[in-house]
């Protein structure tokens, strides 16, 4: 933690970056985002197991972009998000550097290739627990799955916290806001909620880096991570691709292979 603060101080003092986006202690024993713009404030930064938010979401916020070059305290999924955003032409390499706190100090990754090398060395698989939860779903009957999701989605308020928290939901105009014609029903009724959640999952397929912020953001606790992990797993098994591995990459859903699986097509 001291190494992180020291690094932040140095980056700000030397004007290498204009802001360090990191974590500070927040309410309820959780951590919250902190925007450090003065070296003197760097002492407020913390990094521990309560620091969960994917801070890359702020890289897409105009008010934060305007602050200048940013150093971003990054967790494993944050690094992949940075690469995915880069691959989608949303980030300039010169606009940020990533700070990765570790056991022996803090690593400063200032190029996409450095981030790529770091990401390549980390475990990017779904965890054993995540995989077994998906398997549990696969073993459920169709009706059981439908009932499960109908109950979950019936609680959706359409507050769009999932979208707002997601660093990859950066569209300035979301499909749900396209109303000529109205694609997704605005009302949070059962049909509107199903279409909204299917649409969001589909638009994140092959892009989501499984940071989990959508589920953490949901005020009513819908396990949205399940949808994303299912799609991550399908993209990997069907196309052998993973999001957020390289700053220049073919997106799994805007490319193809002539021999993609098609056993379900007549």
């Amino acid at each position: 933690m001291n190494a992180l603060r020291e690094k932040a101080r140095e980056l700000l003092a030397t004007k290498t970056v204009q802001v360090v986006i990191g974590y500070a202690p927040g309410s309820g024993g959780a951590a919250r985002a902190l925007f450090v713009r003065e070296a003197a404030q760097a002492g407020e930064l913390v990094f521990d197991e309560t620091c969960l938010q994917n801070l890359a979401a702020y890289l897409m916020k105009p008010e934060v972009r305007r602050l200048g070059r940013a150093a971003l305290v990054a967790r494993p999924a944050t690094l992949r998000t940075i690469l995915q955003l880069a691959a989608e032409n949303q980030l300039a390499e010169s606009s940020l550097l990533a700070l990765v706190p570790g056991a022996d100090g803090v690593l400063s990754l200032s190029t996409f290739s450095a981030i790529e090398a770091h990401v390549a060395a980390q475990d990017n698989d779904l965890s054993a627990a995540e995989k077994s939860e998906l398997e549990k779903f696969a073993a459920m009957g169709l009706d059981e799955r439908r009932e499960f999701w109908q109950e979950q989605f019936s609680r959706c308020l359409k507050c769009y916290a999932c979208r707002a928290a997601c660093p990859l939901c950066y569209c300035t105009r979301c499909t749900v806001e396209c109303n000529q014609p109205q694609w997704i029903p605005v009302p949070a009724h059962d049909l509107g909620n199903l279409e909204w959640n299917v649409m969001r999952a589909m638009h994140l397929a092959g892009r989501c880096t499984n940071c989990g912020d959508c589920s953490r953001a949901c005020p009513v606790g819908i396990p949205l991570y399940l949808l994303n992990q299912k799609l991550c797993s399908d993209v990997l098994s069907s196309f052998n691709q993973r999001s957020g591995m390289a700053a220049r990459a073919d997106h799994s859903l805007s490319t193809f292979k002539p021999d993609d699986p098609e056993d379900f097509i007549r």
């Binding site: 019936s154 059962d190 049909l191 279409e195 299917v198 098609e262 379900f264 097509i265």
Partner: protein, 144 residues
């Protein structure tokens, strides 16, 4: 449900399947009348949202069909579509929506007989599955 006449919506591409379906007609081949064909420039344009809209509007089954691989009028529209279908199909199944209600296929402009067979088989399967009441019941649920 012997009297049940399923509503099937077919999303087809202009260049292959639509022409194939036309050939079915000009060849005087009879097939199930329960299908309503919607013509698109290419399967690449058939957004998954259109499929959801069809279900929400009362479709009991859906056919999505276009040019065979390597035959796309725009070279690769069908390849891109195929990837999206793979993902979409997996997601529908995960959500508990019966994917037997959505039939994907390649039907070329020369395959009038295949089109007739595809529609007949799909319509038979949907007839067996019955009306997609569960989906249509979603309409209006949750309005106070």
């Amino acid at each position: 449900m012997p009297d049940f006449q399923p509503k099937i919506v077919a999303f087809v591409c202009n260049w292959c399947t639509y022409a194939g379906a036309d050939l079915t007609g000009t060849s005087r081949m009879k097939y199930s009348p329960q299908v309503s064909i919607i013509r698109f420039p290419c399967t690449g344009r058939i957004d998954f949202m259109l499929l959801l809209k069809a279900f929400a509007s009362g479709a009991d089954g859906i056919i999505v069909s276009g040019c065979h691989p390597n035959d796309c009028h725009y070279s690769s529209g069908n390849f891109h579509a195929r990837r999206r279908w793979i993902i979409f199909r997996g997601l529908l199944d995960f959500l508990g929506i019966d994917v037997r209600r959505v039939q994907f296929s390649w039907v070329s402009a020369a395959e009038g007989a295949k089109w007739a067979q595809l529609v007949n088989e799909t319509s038979e399967r949907i007839r067996e599955l019955g009306p997609f009441a569960g989906y249509q019941r979603l309409r209006g649920l949750g309005v106070g």
